[in-house]
C-alpha cells in the first residue's frame, strides 16, 4: 500500500488455512474450513481491522496470530520468523491479547492487583514489591483509581474490567495487541472510552493493533486498514477511508448497508442478501496488488 513501505512488517500471514475436523457420530467426519488461504501483512503502528459476520473465521484468525492455534497450512511470521520458532513465553512479550468478554477473562478468585502483576510473576520479572509497583503504574496508565488494587473483579464494572484486561496485556510491554471485539460486551456509553484509551495507548507505547470486530463504527473510528472476511476468506483489503467510500466487493457493500444507525427514521436496514447469488459463493482471494 502506498506510503507505508518504510515501516517494517511485524506480523505476516502467508497463505494461512485452518481446517477443523468435526465428529458427527462414530463414522461420519466433517471438515470445516474456518480460515481459507488468508494472506495479510501488518506493519508497525498499523491498526488493522478485521470485519466479517459471525462464523467468518475472525476469531480463528486472531487465535492463530497469537499462536494459540496452529495453522493447518501456511505460515504466521512474527518479525519475519515463523511463530513456531518462538516459545510461548517469548511470544508473550511480543504479542498480547485483549479479550471480548471482560467478565470471563478475569479470574474471579484473584485481586485486581495480582491479575495485573501476573504476567510479571509468570516471567519472573522483579521482586514482589517491584511487581506491585508496576501494577499500580499500569492501573494509572489505563485510567483506573489506585483503590481498586485490592478489589475482586466482581466489584468492578464492565468498562473497568476491560481496563484491567488492557493493563494486564500491557504489563510485558508487548509490541502488538490483538483485540477481539474489545467493546462488544460493554455499554454503548463505555465503548467510546475504551476505544479512546486504546488509541491513546497506541501513540504512547507505539503499539500495533489487530482489531477484530463486526461493528463497522468501531472499525471506522479506529483502524488504518480494513480486511473484510467472508466464509474464511479475505474478500477485500483496503485502507480504512476508501473501503467506506468505495467498497469493491458485493459482500462489503452489504456489510456497509446492514450497519444500524441511530439516525431518526433510519429503521432497521432492509438488506437483500441472497446467499445463492453466485457473487457471494466461495469468494476469490483479493488481488495481490493489495498485499
Amino acid at each position: 500500500m502506498s506510503g507505508d513501505g518504510g515501516r517494517p512488517v511485524v506480523l505476516e500471514l502467508r497463505d494461512v488455512s485452518r481446517i477443523f475436523r468435526m465428529s458427527r457420530g462414530p463414522f461420519r467426519r466433517d471438515t470445516i474450513t474456518a480460515v481459507d488461504h488468508v494472506s495479510l501483512r501488518v506493519r508497525q503502528s498499523d491498526v488493522l481491522g478485521i470485519v466479517g459476520e459471525s462464523g467468518s473465521g475472525k476469531t480463528t484468525l486472531s487465535k492463530m496470530m497469537l499462536g494459540l492455534l496452529a495453522p493447518t497450512s501456511g505460515d504466521v511470521l512474527l518479525d519475519g520468523k515463523p511463530l513456531s520458532d518462538f516459545s510461548r513465553r517469548v511470544l508473550a512479550r511480543r504479542i498480547q491479547f485483549v479479550f471480548q468478554d471482560p467478565y470471563s477473562s478475569l479470574n474471579p478468585r484473584r485481586s485486581i492487583g495480582s491479575i495485573i502483576a501476573q504476567p510479571l510473576y509468570i516471567h519472573g520479572i522483579g521482586t514482589r514489591m517491584e511487581r506491585e509497583k508496576r501494577a499500580r503504574e499500569l492501573l494509572d496508565v489505563v485510567g483506573l483509581p489506585a483503590r481498586v488494587f485490592d478489589n475482586a473483579p466482581g466489584q468492578l464494572s464492565g468498562g473497568q474490567r476491560q481496563r484491567v484486561v488492557i493493563a494486564r496485556a500491557l504489563a510485558l510491554n508487548p509490541k502488538i495487541l490483538v483485540c477481539d471485539e474489545p467493546t462488544s460486551a460493554l455499554d454503548v456509553s463505555v465503548q467510546a472510552q475504551i476505544l479512546n484509551l486504546l488509541l491513546d495507548l497506541r501513540t504512547e507505547f507505539d503499539l500495533t493493533y489487530v482489531m477484530v470486530s463486526h461493528n463497522l463504527n468501531v472499525i471506522e473510528h479506529m483502524t488504518t486498514e480494513v480486511a473484510v472476511m467472508y466464509l474464511g476468506r479475505i474478500v477485500e483489503l483496503a485502507e480504512a477511508g476508501s473501503i467506506f467510500r468505495e467498497a469493491a466487493h458485493p459482500y462489503t457493500k452489504i456489510l456497509l448497508r446492514s450497519a444500524m444507525t441511530i439516525a431518526p427514521g433510519g429503521g432497521i436496514p432492509d438488506v437483500h442478501f441472497d446467499r445463492n447469488d453466485p457473487a457471494y459463493k466461495r469468494p476469490a482471494t483479493p488481488p495481490l496488488s493489495l498485499l
Binding site: 497469537l66 494459540l68 516459545s87 510461548r88 513465553r89 517469548v90 511470544l91 508473550a92 512479550r93 498480547q96 491479547f97 479479550f99 471480548q100 468478554d101 470471563s104 477473562s105 478475569l106 479470574n107 474471579p108 478468585r109 484473584r110 501476573q118 504476567p119 509468570i122 516471567h123 483509581p145 489506585a146 483503590r147 488494587f149 485490592d150 478489589n151 475482586a152 473483579p153 466482581g154 466489584q155 484486561v165 494486564r168 510485558l172
Partner: protein
C-alpha cells in the same frame, strides 16, 4: 484512598458473616462437630479413667441414670469393665483422625486424577475415566475385607485402604468442574501470558475448584467414618483394644437385648458426628454457591 479500600473490604465481611450464621444447618453442624473434635483433642484431660484399664469385678455397670449406676462411671463400663465415657472420648479421636486422614489421602489422589482428566481431555480423559469406572465397580467393603485379611488389621492399614478406595467422588467432581473452567477466557489469558501448564492448574484452576473440593471433602470424611465403623463392626477395622465407636458397637452387640445402652450411646454419637459433617458439607455448598460469590 486507603480508608476507602478498608471500608469496601469491611462491607464485604459484614455482608458475608450474617449469611454464614443465618444458615441453621451449617451453624448446628459446626457446633456439634467442634464439640466432638474438642472431645477427641482433650480426651486425656476429660476422661475420668484410663480407657484401657480393665476391671472384671465392675463389668457392664449401667450409666448413672439407670438403677445401679454411679458417678464413678458416668456412662457405665463395658463387658471388660473399662470406663465407657473414657473409651468414647478416645474413640472420638480415632473416628475423627480416620475421617480426616482418609479424606486427605483420597482427596489428593482424586484431585490429581480429576484435574488432569478435566484439563487435558482427550486420551488422558479416556484413561482416567476408565480408572474411575473401574474403581466404582469395586465394592469397597469387600476389597477392604480382602486386604485386611491379607495384611492384618491396624490403624495404618484401615487408613491406607480407605484412602486408596474413596477417591472416586473427588475425581468425578474435580473432573467436571475443571472441564467447566478449562476453556474460560482467564485460562486462555494465562496461556497468552506464557504461563506453564502447571502454573495454569495451580493458579487459575485450583482456586476456582477449591470450594467444591471442600464440600466433597466433608462428605468423604463422613463416609470414611461410617466405613471405619462398619469394618470395625465386622472385626476388620481398628484392632482392639484401641477404642473406636464402630468397635464399641461390635463389642456391645451381644448385650443388645439386656443392656442396649452399650449400643445406643456410641450409635447416637456416630450418628451425630456423621450428621454434623454432612450438615457442614451441605451448608458450605449453599453458602459458597456462585450467586453469593463475587
Amino acid at each position: 484512598m486507603r480508608a476507602q479500600t478498608e471500608t469496601i473490604a469491611g462491607e464485604r465481611q459484614t455482608r458475608h458473616l450474617p449469611r454464614w450464621m443465618r444458615h441453621t444447618g451449617l451453624t448446628a453442624g459446626a457446633v456439634i462437630l467442634v464439640i466432638i473434635v474438642l472431645m477427641g483433642v482433650f480426651a486425656p484431660l476429660l476422661a475420668p479413667q484410663d480407657p484401657y484399664e480393665q476391671n472384671l469385678l465392675a463389668r457392664i455397670v449401667p450409666p448413672v441414670w439407670y438403677e445401679g449406676g454411679s458417678w464413678e462411671h458416668p456412662l457405665g463400663t463395658d463387658h471388660l469393665g473399662r470406663d465407657y465415657l473414657a473409651r468414647l472420648l478416645y474413640g472420638a479421636r480415632v473416628s475423627v483422625f480416620i475421617g480426616v486422614t482418609v479424606a486427605f489421602v483420597s482427596g489428593i489422589i482424586g484431585t490429581v486424577l480429576g484435574v488432569t482428566a478435566g484439563y487435558f481431555g482427550g486420551k488422558t480423559d479416556v484413561v482416567i475415566s476408565f480408572l474411575i469406572t473401574a474403581r466404582l465397580a469395586l465394592p469397597v467393603i469387600l476389597v477392604a475385607l480382602a486386604i485386611v485379611a491379607l495384611f492384618g488389621s491396624s490403624l495404618t492399614v484401615v487408613v491406607s485402604v480407605l484412602g486408596l478406595l474413596l477417591w472416586d467422588r473427588f475425581a468425578l467432581v474435580m473432573r467436571a468442574t475443571t472441564q467447566q473452567i478449562r476453556d474460560a477466557d482467564f485460562v486462555m489469558a494465562a496461556k497468552v501470558q506464557g504461563a506453564s501448564t502447571l502454573q495454569i492448574i495451580v493458579q487459575e484452576i485450583l482456586p476456582n475448584v477449591a470450594t467444591n473440593l471442600t464440600v466433597v471433602a466433608t462428605l468423604e470424611i463422613a463416609q470414611a467414618i461410617v466405613l471405619e465403623a462398619a469394618l470395625s463392626f465386622l472385626g476388620l477395622g481398628v484392632p482392639p483394644p484401641l477404642p473406636s465407636w464402630g468397635l464399641m458397637l461390635a463389642e456391645g452387640k451381644s448385650f443388645i437385648l439386656f443392656d442396649p445402652w452399650l449400643i445406643t450411646i456410641p450409635g447416637v454419637l456416630l450418628f451425630g458426628l456423621v450428621l454434623a459433617i454432612n450438615l457442614v458439607g451441605d451448608g458450605l455448598r449453599d453458602v459458597t454457591a456462585p450467586d453469593s460469590r463475587n
